[in-house]
Symmetry: C2
Subunit: 206 residues, 2 copies
């Protein structure tokens, strides 16, 4: 059936058009400024048309949050060129912080806003793919460090939680303007790196 095939293709094209407009809008205006009506205006369709392709606003935000994880992965492209797992751990943390500060609105979506998790709950296979994959990388590196006795042995999950917790805490306090009185604005980023390295070094030198 060539006709229905072409129809489906057209339908997919419009869905892509909506997603492209959403990315553009989100990049330009962030989460606050992001609206279904603005997306509709951009693609010159009525707001209701958007609902023919996405159940609700959260579903679009979920897609955007997955694109965020793709973008984040690109920061770790050359990560496994680093042979020493401890140096790799340093680098992973640095990349995480750098990504968060480079794309605070995507970071917001991926790790702070409830919206994508709301949609995740409605999915049958409610697996947080983006987050799980990133976590797997972290846990893998920690395990490797332990195997090579570069850090003290211990519960990998606990260590992963501690390290992820710290870098997430740093990024999210920074992008939400909570560091103003701890360090000077222009010192925030260097101090964040110092904090990260202090922690990883402390584990190493034990």
């Amino acid at each position: 059936m060539g006709i229905s095939e072409r129809k489906e293709k057209q339908k997919a094209e419009l869905k892509q058009l909506i997603l492209d407009a959403s990315v553009k809008l989100f990049a330009a205006e962030g989460y606050e400024g992001f609206s279904m009506r603005k997306i509709a205006d951009m693609i010159e369709y009525s707001p209701t048309t958007v609902y023919l392709h996405y159940k609700d606003k959260n579903e679009i935000l979920f897609e955007l949050h997955e694109l965020g994880f793709q973008k984040m992965q690109s920061y770790n492209m050359d990560l496994f060129d680093i042979a020493n797992p401890l140096l790799r751990l340093h680098k992973l943390g640095e990349n995480y912080i750098r990504f968060g500060l480079d794309y605070p609105e995507f970071y917001n979506l991926m790790f702070i806003l409830p919206a994508p998790m709301e949609t995740l709950k409605t999915k049958l296979d409610c697996n947080w793919k983006g987050g799980d994959d990133a976590l797997q990388v972290l846990k893998g590196i920690i395990s490797e460090c332990m195997e090579r006795k570069l850090i003290q042995p211990g519960d990998v999950n606990v260590m992963a939680m501690a390290i992820w917790g710290m870098v997430h805490g740093l990024v999210s306090l920074a992008i939400r303007d909570r560091f103003a009185k701890l360090v000077d604005v222009c010192d925030v980023i260097p101090t964040m790196y110092k904090a990260l390295h202090w922690m990883v070094n402390v584990v190493e030198e034990k």
Copy 2:
């Protein structure tokens, strides 16, 4: 002038009435559900009346965020009964986590949402009192630990950032449902405490 005095008192009473209703509403519905019109309904005035006492919604949220810091302080009432500063550091972290999980909506306001910081910027003396005071306590304890050589010497600001970063990261990832796939739901809290203690111990045992 007894009349204008009484008038001012009445005005202050209405302002308090608004704030009381706001606390009630915020406790019941959290940040999403919180609206100027609902406050007006609760106190049985028109929405515009609220604006005669508060510049905008963010100003009310700012007041609520300060109440949050008061509530948080009450968690540390018996903190200085602990003589050993390292144990005190443990306890401070535990209290922080406990507060965040007990009052996620207040925590949200104090450390995650941009709203209170927006209002802070408009104030002449734009000092983040709540946050600064809490930070001062943390830095004081860290300094004391260093003086007594209970932890390795280093930059207090960096250490404060690292520790605050970690506990904030743990709390905010937990209340935003990002830990689902790292540990079982019922293990989240114990694992958070383990992560905290792992970090502080690692500094100590160095």
